[in-house]
């Protein structure tokens, strides 16, 4: 009912506007002029409004800059960010000149050359010199912008040095997890099929493969038990589909195990499959100051984007591939708090910047930048809690239950190579 009333009010309002316009038109006709003719007074009014707008436009712009310049991002806290900020200011300086010149000309001309019956417009259809001028000048300015821009781009995107600290960021709806390489300094391989409650990143180890296979085994048994009961046909089909799916999953995981064993045989200690157990999976995202960090980024479900505005870096997290970005933090969280922000609660933030679902707006993780010595201490402490606590040595194949292999049949028959997540 209220909706109907609102609609009626809107309609009546529209009619009222129409009637006012009609009255206005009729009265102007009585005064002997057609409303749609543009009178000299109309022209003058609009011409003056053009000038007024120019002033208001620039005033608004300047007010925004003055009122909000301290509420923008604080000083860049990474070497990459310092470079980006310099480049940004350099570009703004050029653009500001272009902005002011073109707008002043536009609104000044619009307001100045208002129509007069006694005057004719200047016949000026073309002029090659002028046209050449404003092709070459923008081209030259853009060349400068491109050269400086690409120089910074190359610095920022070049590969990280081999001795950089390596950290992995793992995104899923709607949180972030960090992974550090652990005692051996190397990240282990991952596979998304191994993900479960205890292995949120799907790190590949002999144990995690065995655990996952055992889980699937149990699940199949449960589903088969359900089939024993009395069920409608569509439910039966659904369960059979699910059992088929679980079987295929298990066979892919067995494939993965074959690949893993092969890789270990060929590469020995260098195999990435031997480096997962000691990895540190954590919700604490800690980086050392003044040290280059190579951040590997992966996603579990949809595309996310790892955005750290204070460090001026960002890279998408894409399911099925690993992306990289490097950063060298220059200010610790403590110095930010005491010297820059004067706010004890300040934290660097990692936030998601690619639409990823309902809670996209709250997918965040604080980032702590610490001194080199603090970082060493933190790593030593974190390494005490590896992904797989000691006792399960990498390569310990003996713990695999044989029943799983029997369940999924001959593993050598399946041709599909498993993904390692890299």
């Amino acid at each position: 009912m209220s909706k109907l009333l609102i609609l009626i009010v809107v309609l009546v309002g529209a009619l009222a506007v129409a009637q006012v316009a009609r009255v206005y038109e009729l009265t102007s006709r009585l005064r002997g002029k057609r409303e749609e003719d543009i009178s000299p007074a109309d022209n003058r009014m609009n011409a003056r409004l053009m000038w007024a707008f120019l002033v208001a436009y620039f005033a608004f712009f300047i007010w925004l800059i003055v009122a909000y310049k301290d509420k923008m991002l604080p000083v860049a806290a990474s070497t990459q960010g310092v470079e980006t900020d310099w480049l940004m200011n350099f570009n703004w300086a050029i653009l500001a000149v272009m902005f002011v010149v073109t707008n002043v000309l536009l609104f000044f001309f619009a307001g100045k050359y208002v129509y007069s019956k006694d005057r004719r417009a200047f016949w000026f259809p073309h002029n090659n010199k002028l046209e050449l001028l404003w092709t070459i000048v923008p081209a030259a300015v853009l060349a400068v912008i491109i050269i400086y821009g690409l120089n910074s781009w190359n610095n920022i995107t070049s590969p990280a040095s081999p001795d950089a600290v390596v950290v992995e960021l793992y995104a899923k709806q709607f949180d972030w997890t960090a992974r550090y390489p652990g005692q051996d300094g190397r990240m282990g391989a991952t596979d998304y099929r191994l993900i479960n409650g205890d292995n949120p990143l799907g790190i590949v180890t002999a144990k995690s493969i065995a655990t996952r296979l055992a889980e699937i085994d149990t699940e199949i048994a449960e589903e088969e038990a359900r089939l024993q009961g009395v069920l409608p046909d569509d439910k039966v089909a659904e369960i059979e589909d699910h059992i088929g799916y679980l079987g295929r999953m298990a066979s892919r995981i067995v494939n993965l195990r074959v690949v893993m064993e092969q890789d270990i045989k060929e590469n020995g200690e260098a195999s990435t499959y031997l480096h997962g157990a000691d990895d540190v999976v954590t919700k604490d995202f800690v980086l050392p100051v003044h040290k280059e960090v190579d951040i590997l980024i992966r996603a579990r479900d949809v595309i996310h984007s790892a955005y750290m505005p204070h460090l001026r870096i960002q890279m998408n997290a894409v399911p099925g591939m690993t992306t990289h970005m490097k950063v060298t933090p220059t200010i610790t969280t403590d110095s930010m708090r005491t010297h820059v922000m004067h706010d004890e609660a300040f934290d660097f933030i990692l936030l998601c910047n690619k639409i990823c679902g309902a809670s996209h707006f709250n997918m965040q993780m604080p980032l702590t930048v610490v001194t080199a010595s603090e970082f060493t201490a933190w790593v030593a402490e974190a390494n005490k809690k590896p992904f797989e606590p000691a006792g399960t040595q990498p390569g310990a194949m003996a713990i695999l239950p044989d029943s799983t292999v029997n369940l999924v049949g001959d593993s050598t028959g399946a041709a599909q190579a498993p993904s390692t997540g890299h």
Partner: protein, 599 residues
């Protein structure tokens, strides 16, 4: 077909009383007359635009006052999606998605090109009708059907598509990731498939008509810039829309047929999917191969319209006619080589990124040429401020403001920090959204007398322009600052972060301007529909314009001209030519002995 239609139209032309015999259905519904089809596109686009505007007001309310209930929100979304008037986060994303889709495709592509290409191509080139009236009619009805399906998708169980108008998979492929990726997304894809078919039929017709049906004397270099712009728009559309269609079809297969074009290694809702080997980035390449040219599909017709209107109302030839054509060509060509600048931070090879930086910044050169040519056209002109002229000047202003921030975004090193923030929202709404809609308004005010034989109210037009113009900057200018403070786009609210506290008050300012701007469109809509029926009768050539459409009778007729088609003797911009009595010379006026054609 073309020749036959021509003959038929010539018969009609001989006796213009004939149109009385048409039934309502063949005149207003399944019409093959280009003028009526243009008007159908326009009215449909106005209705669609209102849907998108109301959506934007709803999400602007949420952004300004997050978590507060609004009767307005509840009125449109009901208790399911807005309990207590507070919008649901999923519905927020859905509105953002559909607002973008409708504005970009249904309003600024179909509404702008569909209206003005149909109205102006035959009229400005001296043709009886489009090359194929039947395909032209189909083009509208495909568009209409696709609009209906898009609107229907608002009412499905899980809500409409919610993955953003760019519908990046896997989010758009997995209903488990977001409810809008269920039936809503399927309808979105079906609707877009029909839309693309419509756009291709329209585009082919435009190109064929422009190349083949120009009247005697209408050389390519005598075509108005509107036609040049529409021509390249149609070419861009024909070359790029099929790529979006293939992207959409592959996405449909991934969604329904267990293929893995875009999906790989995904673990969602506690289960690992079997898809391996696909790449979500592939979709982005396909999408932006259309998506970037699409920017010029909406922008070029607006620039063409503006060129025509600025020249007419400055009573001065457009400066650098050939440079204008050249820059349209350059923009059209380059538009196919820049799509990667939307993907600098997807993990793309940095060298490839460098190439896209280079090609993208090249586009700034023809754009700068256009701006300076507009400025020079205004210089020492004799300017009449019709509402159309105001919107055209407004377009130049937004084109400058938005174009300049484009240079920041094209610079990949800077894009890293502003990518997907409100800075991007500000940039593309100003340079593409506002410029194109200003071009569309300019075109409507300018050619309204041609479309309906009546005049729109000028005073209301002034009011509409000034409120809209001020609000456009009031809405989108502060967004640059919100973006530079690091605020990401497509966030339901910013209350979860303290770092945005300094700029959230700007969101209130933006919303107030947005609501005012939306209300100003009531003035336009009222003026438009009132004038269609009750506006004062127009004279044949109200703006004293040179182009051919103003030589047709005010009352519409099949075949456009009674008697033979006009013959063209000069370019369209002989305004204030020295030695002429009037400050305009119609294109059908023969050159005087010794007079040179100055283009």
């Amino acid at each position: 077909m073309g020749a036959h239609a021509h003959a038929a139209h010539a018969d009609h032309g001989a006796d213009h009383q004939h149109h009385h015999e048409e039934s309502f259905i063949s005149k207003f519904v399944f019409t093959q007359d280009h003028k009526m089809i243009g008007k159908q596109f326009l009215v449909t686009a106005i209705l669609m635009a209102w849907v998108a505007v109301i959506m934007s007001v709803i999400f602007r309310l949420q952004l300004a006052w997050p978590g507060e209930g609004f009767a307005f929100t509840n009125f449109f979304l009901g208790d399911k999606w807005a309990p207590g008037g507070v919008i649901d986060p999923n519905m927020y994303l859905a509105l953002v998605t559909i607002h973008g889709t409708i504005m970009v495709f249904f309003v600024l592509t179909a509404g702008l090109s569909g209206t003005f290409a149909n109205m102006l191509i035959p009229l400005q080139l001296g043709a009886r009708d489009m090359a194929s009236g039947f395909i032209n009619m189909l083009s509208y009805w495909f568009f209409f059907t696709s609009s209906v399906i898009m609107l229907a998708s608002l009412f499905v169980e899980g809500g409409p598509a919610s993955a953003g108008w760019t519908i990046y998979p896997p989010l758009s492929a997995l209903p488990k990731a977001i409810p809008g990726s269920g039936a809503g997304m399927t309808l979105w894809l079906v609707s877009m498939a029909l839309f693309i078919a419509s756009s291709l039929m329209g585009g082919l017709n435009y190109v064929v008509t422009i190349l083949n049906l120009r009247t005697k004397g209408m050389k390519m270099t005598r075509m108005p810039l509107t036609i040049w712009a529409i021509f390249f728009t149609a070419v861009i559309g024909i070359l790029s829309f099929p790529v979006l269609l293939s992207a959409a079809l592959l996405l449909l297969l991934d969604r329904g047929m267990h293929t893995s074009f875009y999906l790989s290694d995904i673990h969602i809702a506690g289960e690992a999917l079997e898809n391996t080997g696909g790449s979500p980035i592939l979709f982005q390449h396909l999408f932006w191969f259309l998506g970037h040219p699409e920017v010029y599909i909406v922008l070029l017709p607006a620039l063409g319209i503006t060129s025509e209107i600025i020249s007419t109302n400055a009573r001065k030839p457009i400066f650098g006619y050939r440079a204008m054509i050249g820059s349209i060509m350059a923009i059209a060509f380059l538009s196919f080589l820049v799509w990667g600048h939307h993907m600098f931070i997807t993990g793309m090879n940095p060298f490839l990124g460098s190439v896209f930086v280079f090609t993208t910044l090249l586009i700034a050169i023809p754009s700068a040429v256009k701006v300076f040519n507009y400025l020079t056209t205004l210089w020492r002109g004799n300017i009449i401020f019709t509402p159309a002229m105001l919107f055209s000047i407004g377009l130049v202003a937004t084109f400058i403001a938005g174009g300049l921030t484009g240079i920041i975004l094209a610079d990949s090193a800077l894009d890293i920090m502003v990518h997907d923030t409100y800075f991007v929202i500000a940039h593309f709404h100003i340079v593409m959204g506002m410029s194109a809609i200003f071009g569309m308004f300019a075109g409507i005010y300018h050619w309204f007398p041609k479309m309906y034989g009546r005049m729109m109210n000028t005073k209301l037009g002034y009011l509409h322009f000034w409120i809209t113009f001020i609000c456009a900057f009031g809405v989108f200018f502060p967004m640059h600052f919100i973006g530079l403070a690091g605020a990401p786009r497509r966030y339901y609210s910013y209350t979860e972060f303290t770092m945005f506290n300094g700029v959230v008050d700007l969101n209130v300012l933006v919303t107030i301007f947005a609501i005012t701007g939306a209300l100003a469109q009531l003035i336009f809509t009222g003026n438009f529909f009132y004038s269609v029926f009750r506006g004062p009768k127009s004279v044949q050539n109200p703006w004293k314009s040179n182009t051919l459409e103003w030589t047709t009778p005010v009352e519409h007729m099949h075949g456009n001209w009674p008697g033979p088609l006009p013959v063209v003797h000069r370019w369209p911009y002989d305004y204030s030519k020295p030695g002429k009595a009037e400050d305009w010379v119609s294109q059908i006026t023969p050159l005087e002995p010794g007079e040179t054609e100055d283009n």
